[in-house]
């Protein structure tokens, strides 16, 4: 495949692609179809697209009622509204009754860029992870996103799917032996000194960080943890035992998301140095996506620095 595509764009294409194969699929949006990329589905399947207006809480509830009646609804809005504003609707109307709704949060993280802190959601992974039995997925590139959408169409239960705004490189299609399975991380490069467990667009940066560190003689394993919940505990524990140090990386708060999940698991089962690379308990800010990511240290170099520190902490 190669080239660049935003995961939100790949998601929008996947909805159209799978519409015929999954006739129960319906798409709901809250006046953001141009941004969430559901616009192509809207054009192709107007009878299966429901614009709920700027009313995310109602959209979330409508989807719950549709799922209870046998449809497979995907709700769409920005992550801050999907997981933030409608948190309690997702919890009580979808999570508690375990309904088959896919809550899709587009524009996750700070790479939203120019719109600034009000629209940059760094808390969604932690919020959605807190809901019992909720599946939380954050694909790393357009190829993985397509596979994630089909896997979620075949999973009967509530899930949160996070999309990113900026275009990023596609690489999982060229990985040998790559296979997508919900709840199973993918080791995309082996290494022995430290493991980076990354999700979303940080997986691509983890690959770059690995190159930087290889030049310094540090051998880095990279795991693409597209499913934050249920966490692939076996893969994390194996990495901790075999490499002795872990760095998590996510375009989200270091509190409670992927970093929290990995740190909780390892503290209780295999204590090794765990450093969390993400947004440090801070609101976002305006700037180009690249400038904002740079500002928060969400770069290959920022990640490499965490890895150097993790290696130095090993006994």
């Amino acid at each position: 495949m190669a080239g660049k595509i935003a995961t939100r764009a790949a998601y929008g294409k996947a909805l159209v692609e799978f519409a015929e194969k999954y006739p129960e699929l319906v798409v709901l949006d809250a006046d953001l179809a141009m941004a969430t990329m559901t616009k192509d589905f809207r054009a192709a399947y107007p009878d299966r697209f429901f614009d709920c207006g700027i009313a995310e809480n109602n959209m979330t509830g409508i989807a719950a009622g549709m799922a209870a009646s046998g449809l497979k609804p995907f709700t769409n809005t920005f992550a801050i509204f999907a997981a933030g504003r409608s948190y309690e609707q997702v919890r009580n109307s979808i999570g508690y009754p375990h309904l088959n709704v896919k809550v899709v949060g587009s524009h996750g993280g700070v790479s939203v860029g120019e719109d600034g802190a009000t629209h940059q959601c760094t808390e969604d992974l932690a919020l959605m992870r807190q809901i019992p039995e909720m599946t939380v997925v954050c694909p790393c590139d357009g190829h993985e996103m397509r596979l994630a959408v089909e896997a979620l169409l075949n999973y009967d239960g509530p899930a949160y799917l996070r999309l990113a705004r900026p275009a990023t490189e596609i690489f999982t299609d060229e990985l040998e032996g790559y296979k997508f399975e919900l709840g199973k991380g993918v080791t995309i490069a082996d290494g022995s000194d430290v493991t980076i467990i990354a999700t979303g667009i940080m997986v691509g940066m983890a690959r770059q960080a690995r190159e930087l560190l290889a030049a310094e003689g540090i051998s880095v394993r990279v795991i693409d943890m597209h499913t934050i919940k249920p966490l692939d505990e076996e893969l994390v524990l194996k990495a901790a035992r075999e490499t002795g140090a872990i760095v998590t990386s996510e375009e989200a708060s270091v509190l409670g998301g992927l970093g929290g999940a990995v740190a909780e698991l390892l503290a209780e089962n295999c204590p090794v140095p765990v450093l969390r690379h993400g947004v440090n308990d801070s609101f976002g800010r305006s700037g180009t996506a690249a400038a904002v990511l740079e500002y928060f240290g969400l770069t290959a170099e920022g990640l490499a620095e965490k890895c150097r520190k993790a290696v130095s902490m090993k006994k």
């Binding site: 009313a55 109602n58 509830g61 989807a63 009646s69």
Partner: protein, 281 residues
Amino acid sequence: MEKLFGKDLAVAAYKARLLAVEAVHRAASGHPGGSLSCADALTVLYFNEMNVDSANPNWAERDRFVLSKGHCAPALYAVLAMQGFFPVEDLQLLRSIKAHLSGHPDMRHVPGVDMSTGSLGQGLSTAVGMALTAKITRKLWRTYAICGDGELAEGQIWEAIMSAAKWKLDNLCVFIDVNGLQIDGATKDVMPTEPLDKKLEAFNWHVVKIDGHDYAQILAALAEARRTKGKPTAILMATVKGKGVSFMENQAGWHGKAPNADEFAVAKAELEAKIKELEGK
């Protein structure tokens, strides 16, 4: 089950009231006031209006019901038990760790419950989702809901009301239980929601105003809702919070309080006397 009419509906409604109040008494917690105000509407829905099958609770073609004011679960559970969805004896374990009847309706564990509710303001949206599903899949089943008048202070309710009109959901019929009271006092003082008829009409709903304890009026309103095309119907029913138990009637204090043994004895005597009177014994 055979449909009930007239006096038989009243008898069933008062039996449901007694079961609900007894369940709350045994649980030593729960919400009797609102359960009693909507008991007549619930009874008419499950014993006359709705097409359901207690032997097959998940029957795909059934009519759906959402108790948006989920705290009135004791009344819903009582009616469901009487309809045979689960044993009436289970009601004695309302809110107990030992049983399946949680404090608010739970669709995963209670047969006959079509939607888990309890967080006010959320149920109506799910009812809109159900009605919309029936529309787009060209099914004839209908969706019913009961909201509280206090619940209408929730913004999400008005989002749901707007959307039901947008999609012309004439297969959706919502009772508003206008008992005028909520936890902190009178709805007109806590947060005025009136004039509900004008508001709902302005939101492009068909509105029917009735006495929520008059079975003929409830049946007529439901028939009118079925005849109404192109818009959803709201049945504004004036009710008495605590209806049927003299010391609970029109008392906000009985919103969420369980009667003790002495109080329950009085309530039981009153409701049994009413049932006897209705049965003509």
